[in-house]
């Protein structure tokens, strides 16, 4: 077996792969009846394709690519609402660049910008805050997007705005949480999931406790993983060990970065600024209970939904996904991207039809970028 040079320690990788194969055989999984291991985080999806890990592991393991790319799960309606706010006179709408090309029913933010809306890509909510300071006569709106890794940064920026009494800064909050969609997938009778590779950087913020239900209520193993190829292989091995030994626990492969209790300062900022929405819509997955965050009434002055009357539930909510789009089935691992009729024809990274094609963390774009079959082993 030959490995690409990016394996820092090819010998160790080989040993882990051999151990994975041994365990898969002991468990009795085969190519026809493989174990379904879901990697939740889009960063992991990208890494799996980049290093061809799906091809390197024993064929009795199948990776199911989870819903952990916040850009990919952003529903059309929310994109439309962004554009509605951005097109108000006097608004400067700020967003992470990743979100610019996500299609809504009236096109993407990029297209709205081309039509004349003042939409700017920022690296950080701090940039949006600085824009508000420099432009006191304009309304600066920050598009708060992402899982628990970016959730605290938006909260801290909002708290800073409140301290400075900046009246022209607000947040359009679309922050979502990791555990709830996993619960929804586990409750779906059509899904078969045998174990999880947990997100590393999300867990650095929330710690391990929020995953306890996966092991305790559903009896499935989960291992929080780092981003190096060896981290991912080791985590798969740890999941398999649990399965082979009949255990279901929350384990931490990435303890060098992820503390068991998470990051207290981040968690305090999150608790201060947000409360849970009763439910939130996910592209391809539908409404999921308690899966989204909104800004607490105490900070209503900084809540773009309150400020511009563009609230969740204000518009007629459900807008159909594009014709023939299989994003939902891909996202839940029911089909591979190549089985979507639009893949590579109507839908490419240049002209994405579905959101899974927009970001390198989306399964379709990752498939496209790495040809779906990058063989590192020979």
């Amino acid at each position: 077996m030959k490995f690409a040079s990016e394996f820092r320690d090819p010998l160790a990788a080989r040993a882990v792969l051999a151990e994975i194969a041994r365990l898969v055989e002991r468990i009795g999984a085969t190519r026809e009846n493989p174990l379904h291991i879901m990697e939740i985080c889009g960063g992991h999806t990208h890494a799996i394709f980049r290093y061809g890990l799906d091809k390197l592991v024993h064929e009795g393991v199948e990776f199911i690519h989870g819903p952990g790319c916040p850009v990919c799960v952003l529903p059309m309606t929310r994109v439309d609402e962004c554009i509605e706010i951005a097109e108000r006179p006097n608004v400067i709408f700020t967003t992470f660049g990743d979100a610019m090309r996500v299609p809504g029913s009236r096109g993407s933010l990029l297209q709205a910008k081309a039509r004349g809306a003042d939409i700017r890509m920022v690296y950080s909510p701090l940039d949006a805050l600085e824009l508000a300071r420099r432009n006191p006569d304009r309304e600066v709106v920050f598009f708060g997007l992402g899982f628990e890794t970016t959730t605290p940064s938006t909260a801290l920026a909002l708290q800073q705005a409140a301290r400075e009494r900046l009246e022209n800064f607000s947040v359009f909050c679309n922050h979502i949480t990791v555990p709830e969609p996993i619960r929804a997938l586990l409750q779906d009778p059509d899904m078969r999931l045998d174990g999880f590779v947990g997100p590393g950087h999300v867990s650095m913020v929330i710690g391990l406790e929020p995953y306890a239900f996966i092991a305790q209520e559903f009896g499935k193993p989960i291992v929080v993983a780092g981003f190096e190829p060896l981290d991912l292989l080791q985590s798969v091995l740890m999941v398999l060990r649990q399965i082979a030994e009949g255990r279901a626990e929350v384990e931490n492969q990435y303890a060098r970065v992820v503390p068991r209790e998470g990051n207290p300062a981040s968690l305090a900022a999150i608790a201060d600024v947000y409360e849970r929405r009763p439910s939130f819509e996910w592209r391809g997955l539908g409404e999921i209970e308690s899966s989204g965050l909104r800004i607490r009434p105490a900070y209503a002055a900084y809540d773009a939904e309150a400020k511009f009357g563009v609230g969740y539930g204000a518009a007629s909510r459900r807008i159909a996904e594009p014709e023939g789009c299989a994003c939902g089935a891909v996202m839940t691992g029911r089909i591979k991207p190549t089985a979507c009729p639009n893949y590579g024809t109507q839908c490419t990274p240049e002209t994405p039809l579905g959101a899974l094609m927009v970001s390198s963390e989306g399964a379709c774009a990752a498939y496209w970028q790495y040809g779906g079959a990058r063989a590192l082993a020979s």
């Binding site: 003042d118 920022v122 600085e130």
Partner: protein
């Protein structure tokens, strides 16, 4: 946006707002350090942190920083982060 990028704190710039200057793959940028503050701000200088969208979210050691940078470079995420930082700077300077 979802993966943090390692940077080294080189100076404290604004103690009141908990802001510091970090060097990320040769580029310097101000970051907020509220989430990694130990006993004193000054003790952060020289330390490596994992930075998410302008906020230092975890203290890491130098070896972990090097490994993470290598992995992110393979994924094209380092360039993406540096481009996003430059884009953010341009957004600030754009005339309205």
């Amino acid at each position: 946006m979802c993966l943090g990028i390692p940077g080294q704190i080189v100076a404290i710039t604004d103690p009141a707002r908990l802001m510091a200057l970090a060097e990320v793959s040769g580029v310097r940028r101000e970051v907020n350090v509220a989430c990694v503050m130990g006993t004193s701000l000054d003790s952060l200088v020289g330390k490596w942190v994992l930075i998410h969208v302008g906020f230092a979210m975890a203290l890491i050691d130098e070896d972990e920083a090097a490994r993470t940078l290598a992995a992110l470079r393979d994924l094209g995420e380092v360039q993406e982060a540096l481009d996003a930082m430059a884009e953010g700077q341009r957004a600030l300077e754009e005339r309205t």
